[in-house]
Protein backbone atom coordinates (compact mmCIF):
# COMPACT_ATOMS: atom_id res chain seq x y z
CA UNK A 1 0.00 0.00 0.00
CA UNK A 2 2.91 2.32 0.71
CA UNK A 3 4.06 2.34 -2.89
CA UNK A 4 0.62 2.13 -4.45
CA UNK A 5 0.08 5.92 -4.75
CA UNK A 6 3.55 6.45 -6.24
CA UNK A 7 2.80 3.63 -8.65
CA UNK A 8 -0.35 5.44 -9.78
CA UNK A 9 1.72 8.57 -10.50
CA UNK A 10 4.26 6.60 -12.56
CA UNK A 11 1.49 4.72 -14.36
CA UNK A 12 -0.30 7.95 -15.35
CA UNK A 13 2.92 9.42 -16.75
CA UNK A 14 3.70 6.31 -18.79
CA UNK A 15 0.15 5.72 -20.03
CA UNK A 16 -0.04 9.38 -21.09
CA UNK A 17 3.24 9.07 -22.97
CA UNK A 18 1.91 5.88 -24.56
CA UNK A 19 -1.12 7.83 -25.75
CA UNK A 20 1.12 10.45 -27.37
CA UNK A 21 3.19 7.76 -29.11
CA UNK A 22 0.16 5.89 -30.45
CA UNK A 23 -1.83 9.01 -31.30
CA UNK A 24 -3.52 9.35 -34.68
CA UNK A 25 -5.00 12.76 -33.88
CA UNK A 26 -3.30 15.86 -32.56
CA UNK A 27 -6.19 16.63 -30.19
CA UNK A 28 -5.85 13.11 -28.78
CA UNK A 29 -2.11 13.72 -28.36
CA UNK A 30 -2.80 16.94 -26.41
CA UNK A 31 -5.25 15.14 -24.10
CA UNK A 32 -2.72 12.31 -23.62
CA UNK A 33 -0.14 14.90 -22.60
CA UNK A 34 -2.60 16.18 -19.98
CA UNK A 35 -2.95 12.63 -18.65
CA UNK A 36 0.84 12.35 -18.41
CA UNK A 37 0.97 15.68 -16.58
CA UNK A 38 -1.67 14.59 -14.10
CA UNK A 39 0.85 11.97 -12.98
CA UNK A 40 2.91 14.84 -11.58
CA UNK A 41 -0.10 16.12 -9.58
CA UNK A 42 -0.54 12.70 -7.98
CA UNK A 43 3.20 12.47 -7.28
CA UNK A 44 3.32 15.90 -5.63
CA UNK A 45 0.27 15.21 -3.47
CA UNK A 46 1.73 11.82 -2.44
CA UNK A 47 4.95 13.48 -1.34
CA UNK A 48 3.03 15.87 0.92
CA UNK A 49 0.57 13.34 2.35
CA UNK A 50 0.52 12.45 6.00
CA UNK A 51 -1.74 9.87 7.59
CA UNK A 52 -4.50 11.21 9.89
CA UNK A 53 -3.56 14.83 9.12
CA UNK A 54 -5.98 17.55 8.07
CA UNK A 55 -6.01 19.78 5.00
CA UNK A 56 -3.75 22.84 5.40
CA UNK A 57 -6.70 25.23 5.66
CA UNK A 58 -7.31 26.27 9.24
CA UNK A 59 -10.64 27.30 10.67
CA UNK A 60 -12.85 26.90 13.68
CA UNK A 61 -12.60 23.11 13.60
CA UNK A 62 -8.93 22.82 12.65
CA UNK A 63 -6.58 24.76 14.93
CA UNK A 64 -3.13 25.79 13.64
CA UNK A 65 -1.50 23.48 16.20
CA UNK A 66 -2.92 20.33 14.57
CA UNK A 67 -0.93 18.28 12.06
CA UNK A 68 -1.72 19.05 8.43
CA UNK A 69 -0.49 17.73 5.08
CA UNK A 70 2.33 19.61 3.33
CA UNK A 71 0.95 22.86 1.82
CA UNK A 72 4.09 23.58 -0.23
CA UNK A 73 3.63 20.66 -2.62
CA UNK A 74 -0.08 21.46 -2.86
CA UNK A 75 0.77 25.01 -3.95
CA UNK A 76 3.16 23.52 -6.51
CA UNK A 77 0.35 21.27 -7.76
CA UNK A 78 -1.73 24.39 -8.37
CA UNK A 79 1.14 25.89 -10.37
CA UNK A 80 1.40 22.63 -12.25
CA UNK A 81 -2.30 22.68 -13.18
CA UNK A 82 -2.04 26.28 -14.41
CA UNK A 83 0.96 25.43 -16.57
CA UNK A 84 -0.85 22.36 -17.91
CA UNK A 85 -3.87 24.50 -18.87
CA UNK A 86 -1.76 27.08 -20.69
CA UNK A 87 0.24 24.40 -22.52
CA UNK A 88 -3.01 22.71 -23.57
CA UNK A 89 -4.38 26.00 -24.92
CA UNK A 90 -1.26 26.70 -26.96
CA UNK A 91 -1.06 23.14 -28.32
CA UNK A 92 -4.73 23.16 -29.32
CA UNK A 93 -4.24 26.48 -31.11
CA UNK A 94 -1.27 24.92 -32.91
CA UNK A 95 -3.44 21.92 -33.84
CA UNK A 96 -6.02 24.31 -35.34
CA UNK A 97 -3.27 25.94 -37.40
CA UNK A 98 -1.90 22.57 -38.52
CA UNK A 99 -5.36 21.57 -39.67
CA UNK A 100 -5.69 24.83 -41.54
CA UNK A 101 -2.32 24.53 -43.27
CA UNK A 102 -2.16 20.80 -43.93
CA UNK A 103 -5.80 19.70 -43.94
CA UNK A 104 -5.19 16.91 -41.46
CA UNK A 105 -4.64 16.43 -37.73
CA UNK A 106 -3.12 12.97 -38.05
CA UNK A 107 0.54 13.29 -37.03
CA UNK A 108 1.41 10.30 -39.25
CA UNK A 109 0.26 12.20 -42.31
CA UNK A 110 2.24 15.34 -41.55
CA UNK A 111 5.28 14.87 -43.73
CA UNK A 112 7.29 18.07 -43.59
CA UNK A 113 7.45 21.23 -41.55
CA UNK A 114 6.09 24.22 -43.40
CA UNK A 115 6.53 27.80 -42.32
Amino acid sequence: MNLYAYGVAGWLLLVGAFGVVRSANLVHAVVSLSVAQSGTYVLLLCVGYQRAAGAPVFGSTLRPSTRVTDPVVQAMTLTDIVVSATVTALLLATAVQVHKQQGTVDPNRLSALKG
Binding site: M1, L14, V21, C46, V57, V73, A89
Partner: protein, 252 residues
Protein backbone atom coordinates in the same frame (compact mmCIF):
# COMPACT_ATOMS: atom_id res chain seq x y z
CA UNK B 1 9.65 5.57 -38.42
CA UNK B 2 7.10 2.81 -38.66
CA UNK B 3 4.36 2.52 -36.08
CA UNK B 4 5.75 -0.79 -34.87
CA UNK B 5 9.28 0.58 -34.49
CA UNK B 6 8.00 3.61 -32.61
CA UNK B 7 6.08 1.38 -30.20
CA UNK B 8 9.13 -0.81 -29.60
CA UNK B 9 11.25 2.27 -28.88
CA UNK B 10 8.58 3.59 -26.51
CA UNK B 11 8.30 0.31 -24.61
CA UNK B 12 12.09 0.23 -24.18
CA UNK B 13 12.12 3.79 -22.86
CA UNK B 14 9.05 3.24 -20.67
CA UNK B 15 10.65 0.17 -19.09
CA UNK B 16 13.74 2.26 -18.32
CA UNK B 17 11.65 5.06 -16.81
CA UNK B 18 9.66 2.53 -14.77
CA UNK B 19 12.87 1.06 -13.33
CA UNK B 20 14.15 4.54 -12.44
CA UNK B 21 10.79 5.39 -10.84
CA UNK B 22 10.74 2.21 -8.77
CA UNK B 23 14.31 2.85 -7.58
CA UNK B 24 13.48 6.43 -6.64
CA UNK B 25 10.23 5.55 -4.87
CA UNK B 26 11.90 2.84 -2.80
CA UNK B 27 14.43 5.40 -1.58
CA UNK B 28 11.85 8.00 -0.59
CA UNK B 29 10.50 8.63 2.92
CA UNK B 30 7.60 6.28 3.66
CA UNK B 31 4.21 7.34 2.26
CA UNK B 32 2.14 9.28 4.78
CA UNK B 33 4.95 9.69 7.31
CA UNK B 34 5.61 12.51 9.77
CA UNK B 35 8.62 13.89 7.91
CA UNK B 36 7.62 17.17 6.17
CA UNK B 37 10.32 19.83 6.70
CA UNK B 38 8.74 22.35 4.30
CA UNK B 39 5.36 21.99 6.01
CA UNK B 40 7.01 22.69 9.38
CA UNK B 41 8.34 25.99 8.00
CA UNK B 42 5.37 27.05 5.85
CA UNK B 43 2.62 26.62 8.46
CA UNK B 44 4.17 28.95 11.12
CA UNK B 45 4.96 31.50 8.39
CA UNK B 46 1.31 31.48 7.27
CA UNK B 47 0.07 31.78 10.86
CA UNK B 48 2.39 34.77 11.43
CA UNK B 49 0.67 36.60 8.56
CA UNK B 50 -2.83 35.49 9.70
CA UNK B 51 -3.56 33.51 6.54
CA UNK B 52 -5.85 30.59 7.35
CA UNK B 53 -5.41 28.89 3.97
CA UNK B 54 -1.75 27.90 4.07
CA UNK B 55 -1.72 26.96 0.38
CA UNK B 56 -2.77 30.54 -0.48
CA UNK B 57 -0.12 31.87 1.86
CA UNK B 58 2.54 29.78 0.11
CA UNK B 59 1.32 30.89 -3.31
CA UNK B 60 0.75 34.59 -2.75
CA UNK B 61 2.94 35.46 0.21
CA UNK B 62 5.86 33.09 0.68
CA UNK B 63 6.36 32.23 -3.01
CA UNK B 64 4.70 35.37 -4.38
CA UNK B 65 7.30 35.97 -7.06
CA UNK B 66 6.79 32.46 -8.46
CA UNK B 67 3.07 33.17 -8.71
CA UNK B 68 3.88 36.40 -10.52
CA UNK B 69 5.75 34.28 -13.04
CA UNK B 70 2.83 31.86 -13.17
CA UNK B 71 0.42 34.69 -13.87
CA UNK B 72 2.71 35.91 -16.63
CA UNK B 73 2.60 32.42 -18.14
CA UNK B 74 -1.20 32.69 -18.34
CA UNK B 75 -0.88 36.11 -20.00
CA UNK B 76 1.75 34.75 -22.38
CA UNK B 77 -0.38 31.77 -23.39
CA UNK B 78 -3.37 34.01 -24.14
CA UNK B 79 -1.16 36.21 -26.32
CA UNK B 80 0.31 33.10 -27.96
CA UNK B 81 -3.14 31.72 -28.80
CA UNK B 82 -4.19 35.14 -30.13
CA UNK B 83 -1.13 35.18 -32.38
CA UNK B 84 -1.60 31.59 -33.56
CA UNK B 85 -5.31 31.97 -34.29
CA UNK B 86 -5.23 35.42 -35.87
CA UNK B 87 -7.28 35.46 -39.06
CA UNK B 88 -5.17 34.85 -42.13
CA UNK B 89 -5.56 37.12 -45.13
CA UNK B 90 -7.61 34.63 -47.09
CA UNK B 91 -10.09 34.24 -44.25
CA UNK B 92 -13.08 36.46 -43.88
CA UNK B 93 -15.31 36.95 -40.92
CA UNK B 94 -18.91 36.03 -41.55
CA UNK B 95 -22.06 36.05 -39.54
CA UNK B 96 -22.29 33.07 -37.25
CA UNK B 97 -24.67 30.42 -38.54
CA UNK B 98 -28.16 30.34 -36.97
CA UNK B 99 -28.28 28.40 -33.78
CA UNK B 100 -29.23 24.80 -33.68
CA UNK B 101 -32.18 23.71 -31.60
CA UNK B 102 -31.56 23.39 -27.87
CA UNK B 103 -33.47 21.36 -25.34
CA UNK B 104 -35.61 23.57 -23.13
CA UNK B 105 -34.21 21.85 -20.05
CA UNK B 106 -30.67 22.77 -21.18
CA UNK B 107 -31.69 26.41 -21.62
CA UNK B 108 -33.43 26.52 -18.25
CA UNK B 109 -30.55 24.88 -16.42
CA UNK B 110 -28.06 27.19 -18.11
CA UNK B 111 -29.91 30.35 -17.19
CA UNK B 112 -30.45 29.15 -13.60
CA UNK B 113 -26.80 28.17 -13.21
CA UNK B 114 -25.39 31.33 -14.84
CA UNK B 115 -25.90 33.67 -11.84
CA UNK B 116 -25.17 30.86 -9.36
CA UNK B 117 -21.86 30.10 -11.05
CA UNK B 118 -20.84 33.76 -11.16
CA UNK B 119 -21.61 34.15 -7.43
CA UNK B 120 -19.72 30.95 -6.58
CA UNK B 121 -16.76 32.19 -8.64
CA UNK B 122 -16.70 35.54 -6.84
CA UNK B 123 -17.00 33.75 -3.50
CA UNK B 124 -14.11 31.40 -4.29
CA UNK B 125 -11.93 34.38 -5.31
CA UNK B 126 -12.88 36.53 -2.31
CA UNK B 127 -12.37 33.79 0.31
CA UNK B 128 -9.23 32.28 -1.18
CA UNK B 129 -7.21 33.18 1.92
CA UNK B 130 -9.59 31.69 4.52
CA UNK B 131 -11.07 28.66 2.74
CA UNK B 132 -10.06 26.37 -0.13
CA UNK B 133 -9.97 28.34 -3.35
CA UNK B 134 -8.28 31.44 -4.67
CA UNK B 135 -7.80 33.58 -7.73
CA UNK B 136 -6.86 30.84 -10.18
CA UNK B 137 -9.71 28.53 -9.22
CA UNK B 138 -12.33 31.28 -8.90
CA UNK B 139 -11.21 32.88 -12.17
CA UNK B 140 -11.80 29.66 -14.05
CA UNK B 141 -15.25 29.29 -12.43
CA UNK B 142 -16.15 32.86 -13.46
CA UNK B 143 -15.05 32.25 -17.05
CA UNK B 144 -17.07 29.02 -17.09
CA UNK B 145 -20.11 30.96 -15.86
CA UNK B 146 -19.97 33.36 -18.80
CA UNK B 147 -19.87 30.49 -21.24
CA UNK B 148 -23.03 28.92 -19.81
CA UNK B 149 -24.70 31.63 -21.84
CA UNK B 150 -23.39 29.98 -24.97
CA UNK B 151 -24.64 26.56 -23.91
CA UNK B 152 -28.04 27.85 -22.80
CA UNK B 153 -28.63 30.71 -25.20
CA UNK B 154 -26.73 31.47 -28.33
CA UNK B 155 -23.36 32.59 -29.52
CA UNK B 156 -24.84 36.02 -30.25
CA UNK B 157 -26.00 36.32 -26.63
CA UNK B 158 -22.52 35.42 -25.41
CA UNK B 159 -20.93 37.90 -27.82
CA UNK B 160 -23.19 40.69 -26.50
CA UNK B 161 -22.36 39.90 -22.87
CA UNK B 162 -18.67 39.69 -23.60
CA UNK B 163 -17.13 42.83 -25.05
CA UNK B 164 -13.68 41.40 -25.71
CA UNK B 165 -11.91 44.77 -25.45
CA UNK B 166 -13.01 45.12 -21.82
CA UNK B 167 -11.84 41.61 -20.98
CA UNK B 168 -8.54 42.31 -22.76
CA UNK B 169 -8.04 45.31 -20.50
CA UNK B 170 -9.18 43.42 -17.40
CA UNK B 171 -6.54 40.80 -18.07
CA UNK B 172 -3.79 43.36 -18.54
CA UNK B 173 -4.96 45.24 -15.44
CA UNK B 174 -4.86 42.09 -13.28
CA UNK B 175 -1.35 41.22 -14.42
CA UNK B 176 -0.10 44.81 -14.21
CA UNK B 177 -1.45 45.59 -10.75
CA UNK B 178 0.13 42.39 -9.43
CA UNK B 179 3.49 43.85 -10.48
CA UNK B 180 2.57 47.23 -8.98
CA UNK B 181 1.76 45.62 -5.63
CA UNK B 182 5.03 43.72 -5.83
CA UNK B 183 6.88 46.99 -6.45
CA UNK B 184 5.07 48.54 -3.47
CA UNK B 185 6.50 45.76 -1.31
CA UNK B 186 9.92 46.42 -2.79
CA UNK B 187 9.68 50.15 -2.00
CA UNK B 188 8.35 49.63 1.52
CA UNK B 189 10.54 46.79 2.79
CA UNK B 190 13.15 46.07 0.13
CA UNK B 191 11.61 42.72 -0.87
CA UNK B 192 9.49 42.25 -4.00
CA UNK B 193 5.89 41.29 -3.13
CA UNK B 194 6.52 41.66 0.60
CA UNK B 195 3.32 41.56 2.65
CA UNK B 196 2.91 45.31 3.28
CA UNK B 197 -0.79 45.45 4.16
CA UNK B 198 -1.79 44.97 7.86
CA UNK B 199 -2.53 41.28 8.25
CA UNK B 200 -5.69 41.55 10.39
CA UNK B 201 -7.00 38.75 12.58
CA UNK B 202 -6.77 35.08 11.72
CA UNK B 203 -9.67 33.56 9.77
CA UNK B 204 -11.48 36.85 9.06
CA UNK B 205 -12.35 38.17 5.59
CA UNK B 206 -9.88 41.01 6.10
CA UNK B 207 -6.80 39.04 6.99
CA UNK B 208 -3.66 37.81 5.34
CA UNK B 209 -2.48 41.25 4.19
CA UNK B 210 -1.72 41.23 0.47
CA UNK B 211 -2.97 37.64 -0.03
CA UNK B 212 -6.68 38.48 -0.67
CA UNK B 213 -5.72 41.49 -2.83
CA UNK B 214 -3.44 39.36 -4.98
CA UNK B 215 -6.15 36.69 -5.14
CA UNK B 216 -8.61 39.23 -6.53
CA UNK B 217 -6.06 40.45 -9.10
CA UNK B 218 -5.27 36.90 -10.19
CA UNK B 219 -9.00 36.13 -10.32
CA UNK B 220 -9.50 39.14 -12.61
CA UNK B 221 -6.57 38.15 -14.79
CA UNK B 222 -7.50 34.47 -15.07
CA UNK B 223 -11.23 35.01 -15.69
CA UNK B 224 -10.60 37.68 -18.33
CA UNK B 225 -7.74 35.67 -19.82
CA UNK B 226 -9.86 32.51 -20.10
CA UNK B 227 -12.71 34.47 -21.71
CA UNK B 228 -10.34 36.08 -24.25
CA UNK B 229 -8.70 32.71 -24.92
CA UNK B 230 -12.01 30.98 -25.59
CA UNK B 231 -13.12 33.95 -27.72
CA UNK B 232 -10.25 33.26 -30.09
CA UNK B 233 -11.22 29.59 -30.34
CA UNK B 234 -14.89 30.51 -30.81
CA UNK B 235 -14.04 33.02 -33.53
CA UNK B 236 -11.92 30.41 -35.25
CA UNK B 237 -14.64 27.76 -35.12
CA UNK B 238 -17.80 29.78 -35.61
CA UNK B 239 -17.38 33.01 -37.48
CA UNK B 240 -14.34 32.49 -39.71
CA UNK B 241 -14.69 30.93 -43.10
CA UNK B 242 -11.87 29.86 -45.34
CA UNK B 243 -12.26 29.05 -48.98
CA UNK B 244 -12.25 25.28 -49.27
CA UNK B 245 -11.59 24.50 -45.64
CA UNK B 246 -14.96 22.92 -45.06
CA UNK B 247 -14.71 20.80 -48.22
CA UNK B 248 -11.19 19.63 -47.49
CA UNK B 249 -12.08 18.85 -43.87
CA UNK B 250 -11.72 15.23 -42.78
CA UNK B 251 -8.41 13.77 -41.80
CA UNK B 252 -9.38 13.12 -38.22
Amino acid sequence: MSSRGRLALFLLGAAGVAVLFATAFLGMPAFGSEDHPYRDLAVPAAVRHATANVVSSVNFDQRGIDTFGEETIVLGSVIGVAALLRPAQRESEQRPPPDRHRLESTTLLGYVLLPVTLVVGLDVVAHGHVSPGGGFQGGVILATGFHLLYLAGSYQALARLRPVEIFDRGEALGAGLFGVLGAAGLAATGAFLANVIPTGSFGQLFSGGTVPVLNVLVGLEVSCGAVVLLTHFFTEAITLSVGGRRERGGGT
